[in-house]
């Protein structure tokens, strides 16, 4: 049982950090599909940073800086150049996946996995069987609670929501929606960098090409499933990792009797179900088309 909980915490924690990055962007009115790209940049920069500097904290700072830079680029394209956030986000994701593969190949001349000598500091023997978990797992409840306070109980959070839901009204009380979006995306960059670092250096201490394998998109789905609420989205993200952990567990107990490739699809099926359910509960999108009319402007 304890190792099941540990495996859920391990797979769930990176997802939750990236989900929170999505939540804060969602509050500011940005559908951030660049999460996958930010996460893999964070993962790659952390591992390469550890190898180069030998210090986890310096590596983490580099990863955060790079992710903030990528977020700022996304903000510039969406906000200043009025690009479609979904396509631009997918573009950022592609840049992240391709760019990290390129960096690894440039440095090591091959595309095999890169091992780091150390990883995220672990929480230590004080916590008994949970000792091998990283400090980011320990910090998670505080971060989630802090995010809830920030978004729901502070002036800043309300302004952010106003900027996201009704930019015009926000502007009329002196809030600059465009700057709020920038702040939200930069904060999301920091959180996504932590998520990527936890994924790469939280237990295995290695980076492999395309190692996020859709987790950023799953985080995005958790944001939608959790209705953009920090706690709801966190629960959604953990739901996804429970499903995936149970899939692995079933594979271990039943072996080849179950097609394990199909079991791996469970989190994705759960995501579809979750989005369908949350649409059902909250009315969903309007049935008519439209909304992407800006793609065609002539």
């Amino acid at each position: 049982m304890i190792d099941l909980i540990i495996s859920i915490l391990r797979s769930g924690t990176p997802l939750v950090y990236v989900t929170l990055a999505g939540v804060i962007a969602q509050r500011a009115g940005v559908w951030n599909l660049g999460l996958e790209g930010l996460m893999i940049i964070g993962a790659c920069a952390t591992v390469l940073g550890i190898i180069v500097t030998g210090n986890f904290y310096v590596a983490m700072a580099i990863a955060m800086l790079l992710c903030m830079l990528a977020s700022a680029l996304l903000w510039f394209v969406i906000d200043r150049l009025k690009a479609n956030p979904i396509i631009a986000g997918l573009g950022l994701t592609g840049l992240g996946i391709g760019g990290t593969a390129l960096a690894v190949q440039a440095i090591y001349g091959s595309l095999s996995a890169v091992n780091a000598p150390i990883g995220v500091p672990r929480i230590g023997p004080l916590f008994g069987p949970f000792a091998p978990l990283s400090i980011f797992v320990l910090a998670l409840p505080f971060v989630v609670f802090g995010m809830w306070v920030l978004l729901r109980r502070t002036r800043f959070g309300l302004r952010l929501a106003a900027a996201g839901e009704h930019p015009f009204a926000a502007r009329s009380v002196g809030v600059n929606p465009s700057r709020m979006r920038l702040v939200a995306l930069l904060a999301g960059g920091v959180l996504a960098a932590i998520g990527g670092a936890e994924l790469a250096a939280g237990s295995l201490n290695l980076f492999a090409q395309n190692m996020t394998s859709g987790r950023g998109f799953m985080a995005f789905a958790a944001v939608i499933f959790g209705a953009g609420h920090p706690i709801g989205a966190t629960l959604a993200a953990f739901f996804f990792s429970v499903v995936s952990a149970l899939g692995i567990r079933a594979q271990l107990s039943f072996g080849d009797a179950l097609p394990h490739d199909l079991l791996q699809a469970l989190p994705y099926v759960a995501t579809v179900f979750g989005v369908w359910l949350s649409g059902k509960l909250r009315g969903g999108l309007r049935a008519a088309g439209g909304g992407f009319g800006e793609l065609r402007d002539n």
Binding site: A83, L90, G91, I97, G99, I224, A265, G279, R296
Partner: protein, 345 residues
């Protein structure tokens, strides 16, 4: 005409910005950017035999992109082309396996139809969820991509597994030569014929039928079209089905033509590139054909780079991604420049 020219100019400006961004990334990663871009252009357009290669990669991309453009036109954001492409190839491969030994004139058309059916079905469930329950199609189609990718892994390493295959990548048994649409060159009269047919039918559908007109209007103002009494949900479902069927057809062509088998995770960026093509072409059918040839050239350069120039193929993914980042951008400064020029005339 003026607007068209301005639009094309704007697209070109953003593509140049995207390529500059790529140059910066290449340079930071430790490659020489001019050398890299030179090799890409060489591999894509200048080397001997570049055009047939661009055609080989461009034709399936064009077929998928024509479908993507249709669903974008209707205002549905079907980004599941990759999954529909896989499901098409899977359905065709299963059909070919079931009919093993039957005469080619029966097997080939049935495989093509079954591939289109597979793609259409894989597009229809997100479509149904969208029009019946308002479930966001961006997420469902994207999850559909991942699920289809895993189904492909399962089917190539299980039911259709080639027992003689040894490499790291699981693949199906090779298709009998009699059923192949082309050799590994990927170009044959029948494949070119299918591409032309798709182009003509889609052009007529979009520009010369009530469906096409309603599709365009609903993408711009769905509420108005609904108030006029058109059945948006039916329009949406058809657009999902057609775009899925075309992606499935492209998957079938890859399977029955150049590849001759399906392998787990083959052509993982096909769907994304097709979306990009549809957007660069501003969702026009004729534009899609030309843009597909350009991206087909880039796709062939991805094979050329590691072998001929010793450079990583990821460079092409980065170029595509950077173009995606900028392609839907609208710059007020550019707009003003074009307006000034127009006023000066």
């Amino acid at each position: 005409m003026q607007d068209q020219v301005a639009l094309i100019l704007r697209t070109l400006v953003f593509i140049i910005i995207a390529i500059l961004l790529c140059a910066v990334i290449f340079q930071i990663a430790g490659f020489s950017a001019p050398l890299m871009l030179q090799s890409v252009v060489d591999g894509a357009f200048l080397r001997q035999g570049a055009l047939p290669q661009a055609l080989r990669w461009g034709i399936p991309l064009f077929i998928t992109a024509a479908g993507v453009a249709l669903s974008f036109r209707v205002g549905f954001f079907n980004i599941g082309a990759q999954g529909q492409f896989y499901m098409g190839a899977i359905f065709a491969a299963v059909a070919a396996e079931l009919m093993r030994g039957a005469p080619a004139p029966i097997v080939v058309p049935l495989c093509l139809l079954s591939g289109m059916l597979g793609g259409a079905l894989w597009a229809l469930w997100p479509g149904l969820l969208r029009v019946r329950s308002g479930t966001d199609e961006v997420i469902t189609t994207m999850m559909g991509n991942f699920i289809a990718g895993l189904i492909l892994v399962w089917i190539t390493s299980g039911p259709l597994k080639d027992p003689s295959g040894s490499g790291q990548q699981a693949s199906s048994r090779p298709l009998e030569a009699a059923y192949r649409l082309s050799t590994s060159t990927g170009i044959s009269p029948i494949i070119i014929g299918i591409a032309v047919l798709v182009g003509v039918v889609m052009w007529l559908l979009v520009n010369r039928t009530a469906f096409g007109v309603l599709a365009g209007l609903s993408g711009r103002n769905g509420t108005m079209v609904a108030w006029q009494g058109a059945r948006i949900d039916r329009l949406g479902l058809w657009s999902f089905a057609i775009s899925g069927a075309l992606a499935g057809l492209a998957g079938t062509i890859e399977f029955m033509g150049p590849n001759g088998r399906i392998a787990s995770g083959f052509l993982p960026t096909h769907g994304f590139t097709a979306i990009l093509i549809a957007l660069v072409a501003n969702l026009s059918v004729i534009g899609t054909a030309f843009v597909a040839l350009f991206f087909g050239g880039l796709a062939s350069a991805a094979l050329y780079l590691p072998v001929m120039a010793g450079l990583p193929a990821a460079a092409i993914d980065i170029i595509n991604a950077a173009i995606a980042l900028f392609i839907t951008a609208k710059s007020a400064t550019l707009e003003r420049l074009f307006k000034l020029r127009r006023a000066a005339r």
